[in-house]
Symmetry: C2
Subunit: 414 residues, 2 copies
Amino acid sequence: MLKINEARLLQDLHDLAQIGATPDGGVTRKAFSERDVEAREWLKQRILADQFKYHEDGAGNQSAILPSTDPQATQTLISGSHIDSVTNGGRFDGVLGILSALEVLRTLREAGLSRPVHLEAISFTDEEGHLLGEFGSLAFAGMLTPEKLANPRGGLKKLQEGMQRLGLSADSVASAKRDPASIAGYIELHVEQGARLEESNTDIGVVTAIVGIRSAWLTFHGRTAHAGTKPMHQRADALWGATDFMQQARQLIIDQFTPGVMNCGFIDAQPGSFNIVPAQVKLALEFRHRSEELLDEMQQQLFTLAQTAADQRNLTITIEPAINIPAAPMCETVITAIENAAESLDLKHKQLLSFAGHDAQTITQICPAAMIFVPSVDGISHNPKEYTKDQDVINGANTLLHTVLELIKRTSDE
Amino acid sequence: MLKINEARLLQDLHDLAQIGATPDGGVTRKAFSERDVEAREWLKQRILADQFKYHEDGAGNQSAILPSTDPQATQTLISGSHIDSVTNGGRFDGVLGILSALEVLRTLREAGLSRPVHLEAISFTDEEGHLLGEFGSLAFAGMLTPEKLANPRGGLKKLQEGMQRLGLSADSVASAKRDPASIAGYIELHVEQGARLEESNTDIGVVTAIVGIRSAWLTFHGRTAHAGTKPMHQRADALWGATDFMQQARQLIIDQFTPGVMNCGFIDAQPGSFNIVPAQVKLALEFRHRSEELLDEMQQQLFTLAQTAADQRNLTITIEPAINIPAAPMCETVITAIENAAESLDLKHKQLLSFAGHDAQTITQICPAAMIFVPSVDGISHNPKEYTKDQDVINGANTLLHTVLELIKRTSDE
C-alpha cells in the first residue's frame, strides 16, 4: 500500500520550524513580516529542489505543480494550507498542510501512477490575519474585495507596506482569482487545535463544516450613582444587566445549542471606580455554529436575552454587529473520500466541526472541499507548546495521500 | 422662637457658588487647587467681615470663633464641613455645613444669650479626596499619620505641591491636632446626597452612623483558550467565575444585608479579545454597612462566595483588600439634641445611615458628634444638578441652631 516518505516529511517540518523559531519551540512568523519572506523563500527553494513547477500568483500564494499524465487534462486537484503564524504560535499550524501536500506530490510522482488531473500543493498568504486574514484564499476565490483590502484589521498602512514587501498590488491580487471550473477539489490537512480527537482516542478528524462566526458589541446603558447612597434596588447598574445577560446566555447556549459555543472575551465598565455604580458596560459577544440557520436562531435568542436583561435592570441596550463569517459546510464527496482513505489505512476516524477558521472555508465556496484533522496534544494551539506526535503527522499525510488517490479514482471513473 | 437669618445664609451660598462655578450651575473646586485657594480667601474675608476671630490651623482648616460668655470656659462646641468639591460637583455639598455654622454663630451673637462654651464654625481641608481625603479632619483628630501623608491617593508630588500652595508642611499638619478634652461636641449639617428624605417626605435626617467602607480587588485566574475550539464545559473562563460571583453576591447583600450595599464598579478581562476565553478577570468590589460586626459578616460571606465561584469554574482567586474605613456610630447625646431641635421646629425627622463618608466620621472618634441631613432633590449629588431647596437649607440651618442651643443647655445643666 502506497505511503508517504515519513523521514522526508518530518525533516521538512523540522527545517521550516527554524524560521522564526521562538526559544520555547514555537514560531513567530507573522504574515508579510521579514520572517514570512524568509519562510516563503525557503518554500520556493524546496519546491524548486524537488523539481516541481513553481508558481506564485498575484496574492503571493505559492504552489508546487505536478502536471497530469493526461495531456488533455484541464482540472487541478489542490491541497495546502498556510505558512504564516500568529505571534508565539506553534510549528504545526498551517505548515503541516503545505508540507504534507508537497510530500504527497513527491510520493505520487515517485509511484509513477497515471494522474488524470494536475496536482497542486499550495501555501496561502496571511491566513492568520496578522494584517487581513485569509488574504490568499480570498484572492484565490475572487472574494478579496476592494472593501476588504481597504479595511484590513491590521491597518491599511501596514498592509500596503506588507504587500509591497511581497511585490503585490491591488491589481496583482485581482489576477490571483482562479476559474472554479479548473479546480477538481481542495483538501486541507490541519492540526485540530482542540482536544476532541485526543480525548476520544481518534486518529483522524473528518471535518463536516467549518462553523460560522458572528460577533457583536453589546452596550448596556444605565446611570451612574453613588455606590453608597443609592439603594441597590433603585440603581440602573449597567454591570448588573450585563451580568444577568452573560449568565443566562451561557446557560442557553449549553442547554440548547451544544456543540455551538459562545464567548464574552472583552468587558469594560464606565466610569470604572470602586465607589460609582457603572453607567455603561460594553461587552464583546461571539458565537459559533455549523449552519446559518442555527446561527440565526442563536442570534435571535441571544439578542432577546440581552434586551430582556436590560429591561429588567432598568437599562437600555445597543447592539452593534461586528464579524459575520458564514458557516461553511464541507463537500460530501470529499468527506467520503477522506473516510474511505482513513478506513483503508485502518485509522480510527470521526466526523467533527471545525470551530476555528481555515482557508478551506473560503475555498469551499468555489469548489468541492473538505479538511482532515489530526490530534493536537492537550488541544493546545496558537502557543509554542502546540504539538502533534510524529505518528499523527504521518497518519494525516497518508490520509491526505489516499484521499487524493480516492478523488483521482473517482475522476477517472467519471 | 430663635431663627437664623434666611436671606443672609442664602446670599452666602450664592456668593460662594460663584467660585469655580461650572456653566451648568455646579462647581469645580478641587482641594489645593487655585479655585480652592480663592474660596478659602473668600471664607477668610467673610469671617473677618463678620468680626469673628479668624483661625487657621496647620492643616489649613479655617475657623470662625465666637468666644464663650463665660471667661472660665475651656470647651468649644464646633460645627462645620468642607469647602472643596469634586470635579463637576454641586454647590451645596460641604459648603452648606460651613455657611450654616457661620450663620448660627451670627444668630447666637445677635441673640445675646449666654454661651457657656466657645462656639466655632470650621471648614476642613480636602474632604473629597482629590489628593488625600479628609485631610483636615484627620489632622484635627491627630490621625493624619506619616504613612497616610506619604501615600496620598492623588500622588505624593501633587500633594506636596498642593500643601506648599497652602503654606502647609508635615510639621504644621501635626500641630493641627486638637485636645479632645477641649471639644464639647461636633455637629455637621450636610445634604443627604440620596433620595430617602425626599421619598419619605421628611425634612430632617438624623444620622445614627456613617457606614464603614471596605473594598478589595478580586482577581479570578483561569486559562486562555480558543473561543471556538474549546468546548464550553472544558473552559476555565475567568469571566464566567466573576459573573457567578457578582450575581450571587448582589442577591446575598439584598436578601441578608439591606440596607447595607455593595458595588462592582470596575471590571477588566484579559487578554480581552472576541475570540479568546478570558484567562484573568479583575474586579473592584466595595461594600458598606453601619457596624464593624456587619462588615465582618459581609466580608466573610462575600469572600466565601468568590472562592466558591472560582472553585466551581475551575479557577483560582486572589483577593487584595483595598480601602477599609471603619463604621462610625454617631453620639446618642448629639442625636437626641438634633431630634429635640427638629421637634421644637415642628420638622418631620427620621433616623438614617450616611452611606457616604464625611469629616464627622473622623471627628466622632475624638468627641461627641452627629450629623444633620437635609433633602437632595432627586437624590443627586457629586453632579452640577445637585440641588437642595431654599426651605430645606433654612430648615437645616435652624435645626443646627437649635441643636447647638440644646447642647449648650445640656452643658449649662451639668
